[in-house]
Symmetry: C2
């Protein structure tokens, strides 16, 4: 049976980290909230689960994955579940905890990227918190982004199995998430990326090799890949971008 992925339509957001793994593996999945309501899909089908008055296991927020009766919430949790099934997890059990730890660090960075444009309230518009956003984005570009990026660069170059993947000896979902992270940051902060990203040659090389993997290249060229836009996590607001 196909996996059912539930995430807001119209933006890549956190759902994209899951989509990239499903696409790389060629897995059969339904992107439920992007489907037609007439076919029992759409946002209504997602809200039905989130607002259920009887279900015991309901997620706090999208994305979540349904595999049969099992409902799994949070990107890192979904990827830890899917990784071995999709051939995108390290083979060794101990390395799976390393992969999950790395994915959680990526998700922490994603939260900081989100908060760079929404430092006060997710519920309100960016325009309502623009001054705080400028301060937080400056902090992010100058301090946090280099801290995270140099960490990932360090781990990638130190992988005893080679720097074509960050953990173990084969591609994992963590590499796909790093690809998305670099693409997203380059979209959101082009000036900062231009100034700073040459410090991370191994990460850039990883990004380049993933971009041309056949399944990923097909996906990126398809209508299934939503373009980056100012509804997602990675938003390009020129007022927030500057030379690092």
């Amino acid at each position: 049976m196909a996996y059912a992925l539930f995430y807001w339509p119209g933006l890549q957001g956190r759902g994209e980290f899951v989509r990239l793994a499903l696409e790389e593996a060629g897995a059969s999945y339904i992107d439920v909230a992007r489907g037609a309501e007439g076919h029992g899909l759409g946002v209504a089908a997602m809200m039905k689960i989130l607002k259920s008055k009887t279900e015991s296991n309901i997620p706090f927020a999208p994305p979540f994955l349904k595999d049969g009766d099992l409902v799994i919430a949070h990107v890192a949790n979904i990827l830890m579940y899917l990784g071995p099934k999709l051939g995108l997890a390290p083979k060794e059990d101990s390395l799976r905890y390393v992969a999950n730890g790395l994915q959680l660090t990526i998700m922490d960075m994603v939260t900081e990227i989100h908060d760079s444009h929404h430092p006060i309230a997710s519920r309100l518009y960016y325009e309502d918190q623009k001054d705080a956003a400028k301060a937080r984005a400056a902090e992010f570009i100058q301090h946090r982004m280099p801290k995270f990026m140099s960490y990932f660069e360090r781990l990638l170059t130190r992988n005893p199995s080679g720097n074509t993947q960050i953990v173990g000896d084969s591609l994992t979902y963590v590499d796909l998430s790093l690809f998305q992270l670099i693409e997203g940051l380059t979209y959101a902060f082009p000036r900062a990326a231009k100034k700073k990203f040459s410090d991370y040659p191994a990460l850039l090389a990883l990004r380049d090799t993933i971009r041309v993997r056949p399944a990923i290249a097909r996906y990126l060229a398809s209508a299934r890949r939503i373009p980056f836009n100012e509804s997602g996590v990675f938003r390009h607001y020129p007022a927030l971008d500057h030379d690092a």
Copy 2:
């Protein structure tokens, strides 16, 4: 061999969620950074791992756990690893993903609690970002805290195995983390808690039963339990607290 827990000394912080599980289970562990440097412990021992120039698997930040050669970072990852070993995870595999999803929601809330006093920069003092903190804390108290708390209350009361634990039919690390969350919020925001927490009777009852569990009660009365203070995640700044 004893587990080695690595976390900043002098504050409960995120490390406390791991400590509570180790204490409830009566596990043998060393709280490394709180030990004496003369014995090869202390912050120096923690920094040695974080700043290693050769290790391939280094954590981004504390807390992390060392079990033999395995180094595991991030609270939810550590608890997912320890849970089954300590008898604090659901027995069913599928429920372990539910537990991990709940723990990740708790950790997301913890980040929001941290950011209520540090909305712009973790690196700087609260006093340097007080105006933004007031705005973010007001948002947290009015919108985010009720959203998270009513979610946990809903799941707790809907657990088909009874509302004395949030997942499955026995106590798990998630229950211990909920205890810590409620204790911490009550410390940080006493006015908001007084006004609002009676809306969550099942959570309060869970908190009360965990507080008197023998191993937890002994721990809370011991010097191993660091008191809440204004270095941790849960900080009591009267300027940020108000009636919900």
